[in-house]
Amino acid sequence: MTAPSAGTVEMTIRFPYKRSLGPVIGAFMTGLAGQQILGIRNGSEVMCPPLEWDPKTGKELDHGALVEVGPAGTVVSWTWVPKPSAQHPLDKPFALALIRLDGADTALTHAVDAGSIDAMSTGMRVAPRWKAERQGHITDIEAFVPGEDPQGLDDSRPEEPVTMMPYNAEIPYTLPIAVNTARNAVALKEKRLIGLRCPVCSRTYAGERGFCPIDTTALTAEHEVQLPQTGTLTNYTIITPVQYPGQTETEPFARCMILVDDSDLVIGYQPVIDLPVEQVRVGVRVKLVWGDGDIEGWQPTGEPDVDDPDLVNRIY
């Protein structure tokens, strides 16, 4: 069952990955940087792009048996891309084609810059148009072009073998916003802390929860309860931040579990305000501090600490 949606939100995850290429793809990429296209011998066949293993039997191929193929080849199949996206290799209409390079028995997928769909045909001859700035990447060939003659040939050869490939992943998402999430967001904007009390087991959940996981009861507006904006710190950790692309923290920071007053709801991994990391401890009485439409954190109230040996076990 899909929770009813209250609209969508767009988000994008980006991260720079690395790829270790291994002996065969590494040699292939090194070849491209030097305007050479390599295939690998597999019995009586030559495979381009080359693989480390025979795709049919799984047998390891002789990684030294790399042979130069092309540079020209024959289009064995193709499709026209009339409206290229940002992820496509060319910013004008082009063909994505399977190209069997001369001397190879398998086909390489690449772009053909033919100008128009009318210039494309199965069986047509194409040759690579090389980029001037090459890095050992499949895009070192900008595209294939109709004809027998490679374009952009120069004397530049790589100084070092190519062993790694940077890969910048970018994944855009369209996330549906669940009705409870939307209603909770409205409450947060109005500086109200709401919960959802399960009609079956009476547990109280955070206001955006869709279901009680214990009895699979759907939680809806009728189960909404207003919660006090005070609570007790039950458990915590002090995190020494590890740096990674997108990391926003530089100094050690606390994340705390807060048991909300008059309920059984623990809100997990919360920031604290006006409580230095060396003073964070179990039992501190806290009150909610509002940020812009969300909880900014929890601040000590100044009341005496709660002394209860079981408090530390209230992680959830």
Partner: protein, 389 residues
Amino acid sequence: MSHQPCAVVGVGQTHHKTRRWDVSLGGLVREAATRALEDAQMDWSDIDAVVLGKAPDLFEGVMKPELYLTDALGAHGKPMFRVHTAGSVGATTGIVAAHHVETGRHKRVLAVAYQKQSEGNAQFALGSGRGGSLGAGGAFAPYMRSYIARSGSPLDIGPMVAVKDRLNALKNPYAHLKLTDISLEKVKESPMMWEPVRYLESCPSSDGACAVVLTDEEGGKAAAAAGRAPAWILGTAVRSEPSTFPGRDPVTPQGAFDCADDLYRQAGITNPREQLDCAELYVPFSWYEPMWLEAHRIAEKGRGWKMVESGETALDGDFPVNMSGGVLSSNPIGASGLLRLAEAALQVRGMAGEHQVDGAKVALGQAYGAAAQYFSMWVVASSLDPFGR
């Protein structure tokens, strides 16, 4: 629940390291799988089906790796399955592979699990790409604080586990961390990363893979007759529970108890502390050793730390735990669960080399994942009926 016997007849793993940039992703899984096939004295063509496990795709940014790795794993024209149960995935992968044999559907199944952490960043991935990521250490730290408080354990127990596992790793040629100068002082002096967990009480980030070849009763008996000891699977169990609900106790999760109870019932184990000879448990942070000893009924509640303190869980102790050096010494996340199962199998086959437990006949392998909410375990033995039932 009746099913056909299943045996582990091949185990292989990579040399786990911070970076295995000498091989491609395919080359990494291939290295482990080749060793497992050599151990089983089989060829790629002998394998009927392949089961692949790894933690989230976001770790390396390779989507659908089960398709990408088909040629590296000789899976062309064969059933290929992908398993995903967070950090426990490696163990679940081995168990899913075992089920294929136990049901009689396939005769010889290859289970492979891997992670190449150096190609991405786990902390980024665990934080869904946002800043201020807790990391696994930050998420689990409150659980460990709760354990320490409720058990009354001395604070040295965590560091003691950290030292023991690193000493064991010195005897394992495949282990990632080789800390020859490890000591209690060194651990206690290391930086506090996720209070109360210190740097040297935490697992490393590793590149690595593990592979296991499973076969039916006929295959297991043939291996035994040829002088290659099989590890017979006495039981497998998998459980999960919701990550958050008011009153959930992640230190002694119900799923952990239920998983162990189901497993012991299948294996005919009524007293795990006595009937198991050793255990390889998923301990990415030191305090998880006493926690799992209790949550899997090997130690009584509140007494897991005493097994550590008394030296019972050391390699030469009465109940060795994490003979391989464990997750604290090598953590290619997706592979870590299968490495636990594989180590249990190596022990009962008598093939664990320098970290062999003398006379080990019955061993437990265990992994957990996500917010301590997925559990995967198996018990293996040197014979199909070790307790003379």
